[in-house]
Amino acid sequence: MLEYLIQRLAISAVTLAVISLIVFTGVRMIPGDPARVMAGTEADEAGLAEIREKYGLDDPIPVQYFRWVGLAIRGDLGESIRTRETVTQTVAKKLPITLELACLSILVALTIAIPVGVLSAVRRNTLWDYLANGLSLFGLSVPNFWLGIMLILFFSVRLGWLPASGFVSFFEDPVANITRMIMPAFVLGTALAAVLMRQTRNSMIEVLSADYIRTAYSKGLAGRAVLFRHAIRNGLIPVVTILGLQMGALMGGAVVTEQIFVVPGFGRLIVESVFTRDYPLVQGVVLITASAYVLINLLVDVSYSLLNPRIRIKGAASAR
């Protein structure tokens, strides 16, 4: 177990190092002179030189990289060109909004995916199964930004039930918060629900044909007890992994969803920083997103191996 943990940690560390290299080179490949952007249009040559001097933009690229990594490890990602706020502060302000959105949409996804997935596995090849399959195909194929626009059209413009956009903090006004978050969460949750539903169905079908399920039936347990106590518990383990792997897609989805519903979260921050050429902010935000993904998957893998010893051994063998 310890060997596996160390191996897994080492792989994550290497991945993080490669990520930092990609982000650093990527941002430096954006056309345009960062000094010019920071100084504004009216700066003269002397002003530009001063800024280059101050931010070390004239130093050799490797020097700049290691300085940036060194500061990043200590939590200093520089400051936004536009607002002069530190990147960490900006992220700390925006991230909770997106986290709320993400949690709500995972909740939406699980509430749809698990019952429907289990039902379609238990009632395999019946009308229920076909309906569930159709539902998941719908979720996979509908572009979520269009679904968002359609929901606004129906619930806000036509019926006037829900506000079309904006954000109110939960602690200020919980009701206003939820009425504004419900549509974005649903939009973000549908694609996730489709993926999770398929995974739930597949792994439940596999579990239901296992020997221990037959044993449970033959010792006289009621169908309900077998399903809830034996099958679902084991069938949902792979669903957890898929959920971890889907975090990236969820972040990407948040970018578009927040754009449509004008939610001032992390996703909108990414688009804004790209459009305003706010290099330190782009660099910091992308680095944080990718690192978070690596950490989440590390946690998923480790917790997964704790739950299931068979994977632990197989995982160590394949990582070698």
């Binding site: 991945t15 990520i19 195909l137 606004i152 990407g252 970018v255 990718a290």
Partner: protein, 298 residues
């Protein structure tokens, strides 16, 4: 013996012909068992025809503005209505098919062109090369697909070509992983070992023995990733990072529609329905193709 040879050859050819007919027939019969997949494939073909024949099919010029026809509801003259500049939405949706198909198909071709050889090499040679490719893939996959694409388009500049490249590069690691996994299991098969024992070189083993055996899995993956790429193009264009106005991309059309939801909701219906139906058809066809190519399903 020449006479004998001819006598044997004729029935052999007949048997061969018969076998071909029955295998074609059987393939069709197996396909016909899946009406949803066939319907999906038919719609994909229909969209392909729309894309190729847009200039002949579209009733109007997709770029021609008409100040007398601004935001008109669907009517006989404009079955899908007109947009905020008085352009015919039906024609714009038809021309938009070209952009979506182009972005969807070419980006995935690009991803395969990079991903399949890289995965093939990594899985075949293992060792340090494999480690390097896999660590790079891990890092690549840690960037959410869309955020990676947004980043790349920022570097390259917004345009259809650059959006296609960005989507393709974003999809590449999936193909590296998939190919590598398939190669790892295939290279241990007896027929691969036999080819090596007969003295086949690395390239011959990879090209003639491994690749044909993993091609169907790659084809299925391609069919199911094209809808994702189509939606990604629409999203990039929607955000203003893909096709630039006035060119009719479904994404840019939806972007414009967002400002007129109250007065001209039809502007938002059609481009979205087009993306949805095309993505759904590709998914249906891909699911069917997966079952159809599965040797266990006879």
């Amino acid at each position: 013996m020449p006479g004998d040879g001819g006598a044997v050859a004729a029935p052999a050819a007949a048997v061969l012909r018969e076998a071909r007919v029955t295998s074609l027939e059987r393939a069709w019969r197996r396909a016909a068992r899946r009406p949803p997949a066939l319907a999906g494939a038919a719609v994909v073909v229909l969209y392909l025809l729309l894309a190729l024949g847009a200039p002949w099919i579209a009733p109007a010029d997709p770029l021609r503005t008409d100040w007398g026809q601004i935001r008109k509801a669907p009517s006989a003259a404009h079955p899908f209505g007109t947009d905020d500049l008085g352009r015919d939405i039906l024609s714009r949706v038809i021309y938009g098919t070209r952009i979506s198909m182009q972005a969807g198909v070419f980006s995935i071709l690009l991803a395969m062109a990079i991903g399949v050889p890289a995965g093939l090499g990594a899985g075949f040679y293992r060792g340090a090369f494999d480690q390097m490719i896999m660590r790079l893939t891990d890092a690549w996959l840690s960037f959410p697909f869309l955020i990676l694409a947004i980043g790349l388009v920022t570097i390259l500049g917004p345009s259809l070509t650059n959006a296609t490249v960005a989507i393709g590069v974003g999809a590449t690691p999936t193909y590296i992983r998939l190919t590598r996994g398939l190669v790892l299991s295939t290279r241990e098969e007896d027929f691969v070992q036999a080819a090596r024992a007969l003295g086949a070189g690395d390239l011959r083993v990879m090209g003639r023995h491994i690749l044909p055996n993993i091609a169907s899995a790659l084809l299925v993956q391609a069919t199911v990733s094209i809808p994702g790429a189509i939606i990604a193009e629409a999203i990039l264009s929607f955000l203003g990072l893909g096709v630039q106005p006035p060119n009719p991309s479904w994404g840019t059309m939806l972007n414009a529609a967002q400002q007129f939801l109250e007065t001209a909701p039809w502007m938002a219906w059609w481009p979205g329905l087009a993306i949805f139906s095309l993505a759904l058809s590709f998914n249906l066809a891909g699911d069917g193709l997966r079952d159809w190519l599965d040797p266990k399903d006879y």
